[in-house]
Subunit: 402 residues, 2 copies
C-alpha cells in the first residue's frame, strides 16, 4: 500500500502497477512512473540519489535508455520505486518529486512498428465480410502470425487528434477512374502493443522462449484504418496509406512485471505449428479491453483468446534474422472475441457498414464521423488481487483537409 | 577542377559530384564529403572554421543534422566545399582534412523505410511470371504508386554481409504443412533510394511540386528478397519476412544538386492521374544502373523509364497526411527496362528461376548461392558533361544459420 493519496489498489494505478511514461515539467521532458493520478519524477529521483539506475533517467527525455537496460535493471528499479512509494519514512524526500500527469507525451522513440493480425475471430470476420464465398481464413493464417510493417513516424500518443485522411478509393465502375477525397470508411482497430527494450543482433533469431529477455511492457494501441483507401491500394503489397496517417498508443507502458498475475493458458493450435513457434507453455494475457465511441461502450474485446501469442509474434518477426531495436513496437492486430459485442473494429461491429450501431445520444454510426472520439481502455488482473488499469488510448477525429 | 589528386571529372567523384557520407577516423564517426578516393572531414572543417554550417557537422556522428538543415543550407555548404576543393590557395589548410574512405558506414539514421513498385516493366514481368492467365498489371497500378513500409532497423550499409534468411515456405501440397528452412529463392532488387532531409507536419500532404524542398539526395539500394518466404506470407498484408532481413544502401548520398544535369522527361501516363499526382513538368532521372553477379555484368537497368517519378511517390506517400522525418528513405522499387538484360531482379532475369544465367566463371545460377556477391553500381550525367559515379551497393551472401 502506497502512502500516496488516492493510489490504492482500487485506483488501477497502485504500487502493484507502476507503469512508465514521460511527463513535462518546467518545460522539460522527464521519465516518470505513474502512481495514482501523480507521476514520480525519475530523472529527479536519480539526480537526488534516491534511485540508482545507472544514468537511465537523469537528464533523459525518453524511456529509451531504461528500456535498453534489460530485465535485471528493470527489476531493480521497480523494487526500489516500490520501496520509495510504500515506506512512510521515504515520503518526505519522495513527495516533492510527485508531479501532475499533465498532457500525455510519447514515452519512447518508436523504432520499427509492426502490426500483426492474430485474432482468429477478427481474421475470420474480415474474411466473411470481404470474401463471403471463400473460406474465412487464408491458407497461411494458422501456420504463421501474419503481419506487416507500419509507419513508425506517425505513431502518436493518446490524446493526439487524428485528421481524417484523404486518398484514392476503388473506381465506382471497373476500369473507371478511382475516387478521391476524405475517407468515408474511417475505422479503429483496438490492439495491444508490446514494447521492445533489449535489442538483438542482425542474423540471430530470438527464440520463442526468450520473449521476456527482450520485451519490456505493454501499451494499448488504436491502429486507425481508412477501409476505403486500404481496399483499393492493398494489392499486392499490403496496407499503406490506409494505415499510415496515424497510430495511437497509450502514454504509460505497463511493465510485464506488473502483469505476472495476468497470464492465462492460450488457446490450443490446430494444425500444430512449426518448431520455432512451439511453446511448451502457451500463455496469453487476460487483458479486458473496452471501446467507447463518444462515451458509449460499444465493445469489450477479450485479449486472452488471441490465437498467436506475443512470444510467437516475436519469434516469427525475427526467425529470418531481422534484428530488434530498443523502441520497436509490435501490436497484436485487432482484438476480437467471438461475440459481436467483443469485436475490436467498427468494420466488424457494423458488419461492413451494413448494420449501424446506436450511441447513447441517439445518433447512429457505421464508420467514424468528424468530431467523434474513440477511447480504448483496458484492465488486467493484478498479482495480489484486484485489477490494474492500462493507460487508455483516445483520439478525436478532425475533418479532412482536402 | 579540384586540386585533389585523382579527383578529376573522369573519376566519377570530381567536384561536380560531392556526395555526403560518414567516415571513421580516430575511432570516431565524422560527416564527410567524398572527393576522388578521399573523404573531406566536414566535422574538422567546421571545427577549424573553414566551413560555416551552423553546427551541422562539428561533433556530429551522422548526416542527420545536415539533412534537416534544408535546401538553402545544403546549397551554401556545397558552394563552400566546392570552393575549398578547387581553390589552390585553400589547399594547405584543407589537405590535412582529407581522410581515407575506410570501411563504409551508414551515413544517416533511417527513420521510416518505404519501398515502391514503380517500374511498369518490373510489375508487368512479375504479373506475367506469377499470374500468367491474368492481365499483367493489377487494376490500381496505373492510378497510384503502389508501395509499402519495410523494416528501417535492418537497412544496412553497402558491404555488410547478408545472412541467408530462414523461414516458412508454401506447403508442398495444398493443405499440408508449410516447409521451413533457408530460403531457396534468394534474390536482389536493384533500386534507387531517395533520402528525406526536411520533415513535414502530421496531417499536411507534401504537394508534388514540393519534392525538392524535402528530399536531399539519392543512394543506390539493394532490397534483398526471399521469394519463397514472400510468396507464402504475403496474403493479405504484403511482404514481411521475405524482405525484412536486410536492405542494403550505398554509403555516399548524392545530393540532388549534383544531378541537375540528369533530369529527363518521364514517360507519359495513360490513363491520366488524379490531380495530386499531376506534374506540369514530369521528370525522371537518367541514372544508368549496372548489376554484377560475382563480377559478371548480368543486367543494366535504366532508371529514366520509371512510370512513377520520385516526386509522385512523395506526394502519394503524404496525401493521407502522413508526416515525413529526417532520414526517411523511400526506394523506387525494382528498376527494370523493357529488355531481359535490363531487369533489376533475378526473378525476372531467370524468368521465375526457369532460365539460368551463366556467369563468367562458367557456373550457372537461378537465385543466389551462398558466397555470391552482388554489386549494384550506377552513373548519372553530370551538369558540365561527363558522368558521376553513384556509390555502389554491394553485399555477399552468408550461409543460413538454421
Amino acid at each position: 500500500m502506497s502512502w500516496v493519496p488516492q493510489a490504492g489498489a482500487d485506483s488501477g494505478f497502485g504500487v502493484t502497477h507502476l507503469p512508465y511514461g514521460v511527463v513535462v515539467a518546467g518545460g522539460r521532458r522527464r521519465p516518470a512512473v505513474r502512481i495514482g493520478d501523480r507521476a514520480l519524477d525519475l530523472a529527479g529521483a536519480e539526480a537526488t540519489g534516491l534511485l540508482a539506475a545507472g544514468g537511465a533517467f537523469q537528464d533523459r527525455t525518453s524511456l529509451d535508455p531504461f528500456l535498453a537496460a534489460g530485465p535485471p535493471a528493470w527489476q531493480r528499479v521497480r523494487e526500489r520505486i516500490t520501496g520509495l512509494l510504500t515506506d512512510p519514512a521515504a515520503r518526505p524526500r519522495v513527495e516533492p518529486l510527485l508531479l501532475p500527469l499533465g498532457e500525455p507525451v510519447l514515452p519512447f522513440q518508436v523504432a520499427d512498428y509492426v502490426d500483426f493480425y492474430s485474432s482468429e475471430h477478427h481474421a475470420a470476420n474480415v474474411g466473411r465480410i470481404f470474401r463471403p464465398d471463400q473460406p474465412p481464413l487464408l491458407p497461411n493464417w494458422k501456420h504463421l502470425p501474419v503481419g506487416y510493417h507500419g509507419r513508425a513516424g506517425t505513431v502518436v500518443v493518446s490524446g493526439t487528434p487524428v485528421t481524417r485522411p484523404c486518398g484514392q478509393r476503388r473506381p465506382a465502375s471497373a476500369g473507371g477512374p478511382p475516387g478521391f477525397g476524405p475517407s468515408t470508411r474511417l475505422d479503429i482497430e483496438a490492439e495491444v502493443g508490446f514494447v521492445v527494450g533489449v535489442p538483438s543482433r542482425l542474423g540471430e533469431p530470438v527464440p520463442v522462449d526468450r520473449f521476456i529477455e527482450h520485451v519490456f511492457g505493454v501499451a494499448l494501441v488504436n491502429d486507425w484504418s481508412a477501409r476505403d483507401l486500404q481496399a483499393w491500394e492493398y494489392q499486392p503489397l499490403g496496407p499503406f496509406l490506409g494505415k499510415s496517417f496515424a497510430t495511437s498508443v497509450g502514454a504509460w507502458v505497463t511493465p510485464l512485471a506488473a502483469l505476472a498475475g495476468a497470464w492465462v493458458p492460450a488457446p490450443g493450435q490446430d494444425p500444430p505449428v512449426l518448431d520455432y513457434l512451439r511453446e511448451p507453455d502457451r500463455r496469453g494475457l487476460a487483458l479486458a479491453l473496452t471501446v467507447r465511441w463518444n462515451g458509449t461502450v460499444v465493445s469489450s474485446p477479450p485479449f486472452a483468446g488471441m490465437y498467436w501469442t506475443p512470444a510467437q509474434q516475436l519469434a516469427h518477426l525475427t526467425v529470418n534474422g531481422a534484428s530488434l531495436r530498443t523502441g520497436d513496437l509490435f501490436a497484436s492486430g485487432t482484438v476480437s472475441g467471438p461475440d459481436r459485442r467483443e469485436v475490436g473494429s467498427f468494420l466488424e461491429l457494423t458488419w461492413g457498414g451494413t448494420e449501424p450501431v446506436r450511441l447513447a445520444d441517439g445518433t447512429e454510426r457505421t464508420f467514424l464521423a468528424d468530431g467523434d472520439t474513440v477511447t480504448i481502455s483496458g484492465t488486467a488482473p493484478a498479482a495480489g488481487g484486484g485489477r490494474l488499469t492500462l493507460a487508455e488510448v483516445t483520439g478525436t477525429v478532425l475533418p479532412a483537409r482536402c
